[in-house]
């Protein structure tokens, strides 16, 4: 496994596995986060996976940078090859269009498609959650077809409801909490991606595979109630 270690100041360090987003790099990160999750080193405060990196927060009063690097090298070397990786497939119901997807028509128009075609392409993609960041529970999702790519809105909306499914450039995403944003909104899921009172507050985690299932407005409201 190829990676490089870099310091992030005096209380964090970063393992970098590559410079571009791809599923292979992501798998290596998944393998290590698995080890860190299930047998965390005593000196580690927490870890934060991203597209091509894992950042590890530590207490410099307990371990120095160079010692932490040595420890991490050991952890990676001793990692078992068959180390199971997350193959979790999560289905996310989405009600596309109308009041839940005010920008569906725009996305269809810029790509010379019908709204139905946009929904079909979006719902039939194979998606991978690369990382969680930006806001609590917000997934950075890879795998959207370029056929439905669309530029961001020129001026962001002041409030986008949690659960809104959007497109920005070649990316698709789901707003995890109510927030301002400039993505083109094509639908909404009744699933709550972030709930502070849950033992696991974030619904998705890095490494999850996502399947979007189109639902009707009635099904959406049944789900919510």
């Amino acid at each position: 496994m190829n990676f490089q270690l870099y310091p992030m100041g005096d209380h964090a360090l970063l393992l970098e596995f590559g410079k571009v987003i791809d599923p292979k790099t992501h798998q290596q990160i998944q393998k290590i986060t698995n080890v860190l999750e299930h047998s965390p080193p005593s000196w580690m405060v927490e870890y934060i996976p991203a597209f091509t990196t894992i950042t590890i927060i530590y207490k410099p009063t307990e371990i120095l940078y160079k010692e932490a690097c040595l420890e991490l090298n050991k952890i990676v070397l001793n990692m078992e090859e068959h180390n199971a990786i997350n193959q979790h497939i999560v289905t996310i119901p989405v009600c596309y269009g109308d009041e839940f997807g005010p920008d569906l028509e725009f996305v269809a128009d810029v790509n010379s498609l019908t709204k139905k075609e946009v929904i079909n392409i979006h719902a039939n993609g194979n998606y991978l959650v690369y990382m969680i960041g930006f806001s609590p529970g917000f997934p950075y999702i890879g795998g959207m077809s370029e056929k439905i790519a669309a530029p961001r809105k020129k001026s962001p909306r002041l409030n986008i409801a949690a659960g809104s499914v959007g497109i920005a450039g070649k990316q698709t995403g789901i707003y995890s909490i109510d927030s301002p944003g400039g993505w083109q909104i094509i639908g909404r899921t009744p699933v709550r991606l972030f709930q502070i009172d849950k033992q696991k507050p974030a619904f998705l985690k890095a490494g999850d595979k996502i399947k979007f299932i189109p639902i009707s407005r009635n099904e959406y409201y049944e789900w919510v109630n």
Partner: protein, 326 residues
Amino acid sequence: MTMLTVLKRGFFTTVQDQGRYGYQKDGVVVSGVLDDYAHRIANYLVGNCENSPILEITLNGPQLQFHIDAVIAICGGNLSPSINGRPLPMWKSILIKKDTVISFGKCLAGARSYLAVSGGFHVPKVMESASTYVRGKFGGVDGRTLQMNDKLTFGPFSKLNKRIFEKLTGSTVANWSVPYQRMYSKKLIRVMKGRQYEEFTNISRTNFFKYQYTITTESDRMGYRLKGTPLALQRDEEMLSEAVTFGTIQITTDGQPIILLADRQTTGGYPKIAQVASVDFPSLAQMKPGDRIDFELITIEKAQQLLRQRERYLQLIKTGIRLKYS
């Protein structure tokens, strides 16, 4: 049972502990106190464990009425605390009598004061922490700043809480205080090279250390936006988002630095020129809009050595306080 009522709200007062760790992989912001030293010493002075929830009071403090006798300590920036109109000493254990009112006045030094009470402020924990994250509307008191008429309660007393309380009965104010001066620097902030340091132009790397940067009014617990000589990368490149930490200094597209603090987002995509040394976080916490910063480059080894020295000093203070009340 109400133990304290907020009579006036002040500018920005929140309940904080050391922060919400373990959930950054879920995108959850850490929060927590900005000045961890003032927080820890205030807790030591009243006999709490060092992670006990306290009030972080910014610039213009609240007015608080106590409904029970309690031991308190105020550390950090000097916001002119007073008790029933008389000035209240800082960095000391103080016994407060039932019905007294604590107020704050002018900001004389620093920017943030930390008020600890014996037993700690009791609020429901969210994801294992009492820290308030105002943008996310969770933690602390209903995820917000203190408001008029808020009623607060304190946690149960430990043996040490009780001993300090009993020792102070009769004298009300300890006849000693913690020597704290060596923890704060007025301008100088020591940093290490950031992840993209080498990717900035030569002149930018020189200017970052040569000129002062001013903290602007667009600064809060999330980060300080600075203004000064603009800095630039050698060539524009698209950066992949990755984790940022307390003290990460990133350069935005307009060439100005932002120092990320407790309420920072977990990940960021701006280039990082430097990382503030942990030992200087308290100095940073006590700066305010208009203050100018000089950055000085040090190595990681040096930064970690300084932090360990500081830690030993804090342990000494902790032991000293315990001995006085043993």
